[in-house]
Symmetry: none
Subunit: 200 residues, 4 copies
C-alpha cells in the first residue's frame, strides 16, 4: 500500500503540472521512485490511474460539500462556509483541486470519463446549494433583491477561479479567504442588517 500511494501522489502532481497527456508513465515511475510495471501492477493503465486519482479527490470534495452544516443562523453563513471549504480544499489538495478544475473541463467530450460526471455533479450541487441559499436569503430579507440564477453562476465562476489559485500565484496572498467572504457579503447582505450586527 506504500508504493501505490507514492504512485498516486507522484501522478497527481505531474498530471496537475503537465496535463494528463503531457505526463509519461516513465516520469510517474521515476517521481514515485518505482518502475513502470509497478504502475500497471496497481492500476489497469494510465487512464485508470488518472481515474482513481480523480475518484478519490472528487469523493473527498463531494463528501466535504455534503458535510456543510445545514442549520446556520443566516444564509450568508452557508455561502461563507462554501467559500471557506474551497479555500481549505485547495490548500490541502492542491494537485487534485487543479485536476478537477482544469483538466476535467477539457475532457468533457469523452462521456466515459469521470470528468464529465464530476463536472456535472459539481455544477448541479453548487447550483442547488446556492439557489436555495439565495432564494431563502432574498425571501427572508437577509439579502438584497438579487436575480438568483445569474448570481449563482457568478459564484460558481468565482469558486472555479479560486480553485485555479495554483496556476495564478495566489499562494502568498494573505487574508484572501476572509476578504473573499467579506467581498461577497458586502454585495449580498442588506446594509442595514450588516450595520446593526456590527454596531452593538
Amino acid at each position: 500500500m506504500n508504493k501505490k500511494q507514492d504512485i498516486i501522489q507522484a501522478a497527481a502532481h505531474l498530471f496537475a503540472e503537465q496535463s494528463f497527456e503531457g505526463t509519461t508513465t516513465v516520469q510517474i515511475a521515476k517521481a514515485a521512485k518505482s518502475t513502470e510495471p509497478m504502475i500497471y501492477y496497481h492500476f489497469k493503465g494510465k487512464d485508470d490511474l488518472f481515474t482513481q486519482i480523480l475518484e478519490r479527490a472528487s469523493h473527498e470534495y463531494f463528501s466535504r460539500l455534503k458535510r456543510l452544516p445545514g442549520d446556520t443562523t443566516t444564509q450568508f453563513e452557508k455561502i461563507a462556509n462554501l467559500i471557506s471549504l474551497h479555500f481549505y480544499f485547495v490548500r490541502e489538495m492542491p494537485n487534485e483541486t487543479y485536476l478537477i478544475a482544469s483538466t476535467c473541463p477539457a475532457r468533457l467530450n469523452d462521456p466515459a470519463s469521470i470528468c464529465k460526471k464530476i463536472v456535472e455533479q459539481q455544477r448541479f450541487w453548487l447550483t442547488d446549494y446556492l439557489t436555495i441559499c439565495l432564494e431563502k436569503g432574498v425571501r427572508e430579507g437577509e439579502f438584497q433583491r438579487v436575480p438568483v440564477s445569474p448570481t449563482v453562476n457568478i459564484f460558481i465562476a468565482l469558486l472555479n477561479g479560486l480553485m485555479h489559485q495554483r496556476g495564478l500565484g495566489f499562494e502568498k496572498v494573505e487574508g484572501l479567504r476572509e476578504e473573499t467572504i467579506t467581498f461577497c457579503r458586502r454585495s449580498l447582505v442588506k446594509k442595514e442588517v450588516t450595520n446593526r450586527k456590527r454596531q452593538p
Copy 2:
C-alpha cells in the same frame, strides 16, 4: 492564406478541447481538411503552431486591455469595462480564451513557452490596472475601504473563472455580464454614492 487560417482554426479548437499534448498533428490536418506536411509548410512545427495561436490570441487580448478607456468618470466604470471586455473576448474567441486560461497555467514550468509570458503579463497588467482603480476609488471615497491587494486577487480569480465559461456550461445564462458588474458594484461602491447617483 486560406489553408493556414484553416489550420489555425482547427488547431485552436482541438487544443482547447483536448490539450496541446492530447492533440495530434494528424487530427489537426484532418480537421483542417489538409495534410500533415502542409502544417510543416506553414509552421515550424506543432510547438510553433501553438505559439502562433497563442501569440495572436494574446496579442488581441492585450491590445484590447490597452484600449480600455482611461478617462472614465468613475473608477468603477473602469472595472465594469474590464469585466465586459472579458465577456466579449470569451464570446468572440472561445477557444483562444480557454487556451489562455486553462492550458497556459499548466505550462508554467516550461520557461521557454509563451504561456509563462502571457500568464505573467496578464497577471501583472490586471494587478496594475485593478490596483490603481481600487486605490483611487478608495482614496476618492467612491469605493468602500477595501484592502487593495486581496481585492485585486479576488477580481483576478473571478475574471479567470469567467474565462472558463466554455468548460462550465454558462453559454445559455442570460444577463450574466450585467449581473456580474452589478454584483461587484454592490460590493465596492459606497451605498450613498450609488443611491445619490440613482435617485435624482
Copy 3:
C-alpha cells in the same frame, strides 16, 4: 503498394511459421525490409494485418471453391476436383493454407475473429458440397451405399490433414494428389463401374 505487399508476404510467412502471438512486429518489419511504423501506416495494427492476410487467403480459397465446375459427368469427378483444388491451393499459398488450417481452429473462442467465420464457412461449404455429391452418387448407383454424414466428415478430416502438409513434410512426396484421388475412388465408386470405365 509495394511495401504493403512485402509486409503481407513477410507476415504471412512468419505467422505460419511461428504463430500469430509468437511473431513480433519487429520481425515482420525486418523480414519485409521495412520498419515498424510502416506496418501501422498500412494496417491498423498487428490484428488487422492478420485479418487482412486471412481475408485475402479465404477470399481466394472460397472463390476457388465456388468456381468448381458443377456439370461434371460423374459425382466422383467433383470430389476429385475438390481434392485437387486443395493440393493446388496448398502449393500456391502454403503459408495462407497453413494459417487457415492451423491458426484458425485455435482462435475459435474469439467470436470477433475472422477465423470463426472462415472455419464455419469452410465447414458449411464443404459439408454442403460433399453431401450433395455423395447423396447423388449413391442414389444414382455411382457410389457404394455409404452413410453420407460420416463420410462427409471423413473427407473434411482428410482435406484438413492435407492442408497441413507444410507441417508434415509432404513436400517431396510425388504423386500424392493423384494417389489421394485414387484412394478415395476405390473406396467410393462401385467396382463394376470403375472396371467398365477402365477396361474398354
Copy 4:
C-alpha cells in the same frame, strides 16, 4: 502433487486454446486457482511446463502406439487399430492431442523444442508401421496393388486431420470411427477377400 496437476491441466487447456505464446503465466495461474510463483516452484519456467505437458502426452501417445498388437490375423486389422487408437486418444486427451497435432508443427524451426522430436518420431513411427502393413498386405494379396509410399502419406494426413477434430466440430458425429475404418477398408482390401470374409 495436487496443485501441480491443476497447473498442468490448466496449462494444457490454455495452450491448446490459445497457443503457447498466446497464453500467459498469469492466465495459467488463475485457471489453476494458484499463483505464478507456484508455477516456478513446480517447473523451471513456462517452456519447461510446456515441455512436461508434451512429454507426458507424447509418452502416452507413443506407448499406446507401441502397445498396438503385432499379431493380428489381417494387415488391415492393424490399420483399423491405428485409426481407433487415434480416435480414443483424441477423446481421452483432447488438449494434448491438439497440442501435438497443431502446436508442434508450428514449432519445428526451434530444434531444441520437443516438438521437433515428437513430430519426427510420430512421422517415423507411423511411416514405419504403415509401410510394413501395406507392403505385407499387398504382397500377401490382402490389399489391392497400392503404391506404398503415397498411401502411407494419405493415412498420415487422414490421422492428422482426425486429430484436429476439436477444431472441426466433429464431437457430435456418431459412428465416425467405425465409418473411417470402413472407408479405408473399402479402398484397400480386395473385394473378393472382403466378400469371402463376409459371405459365409
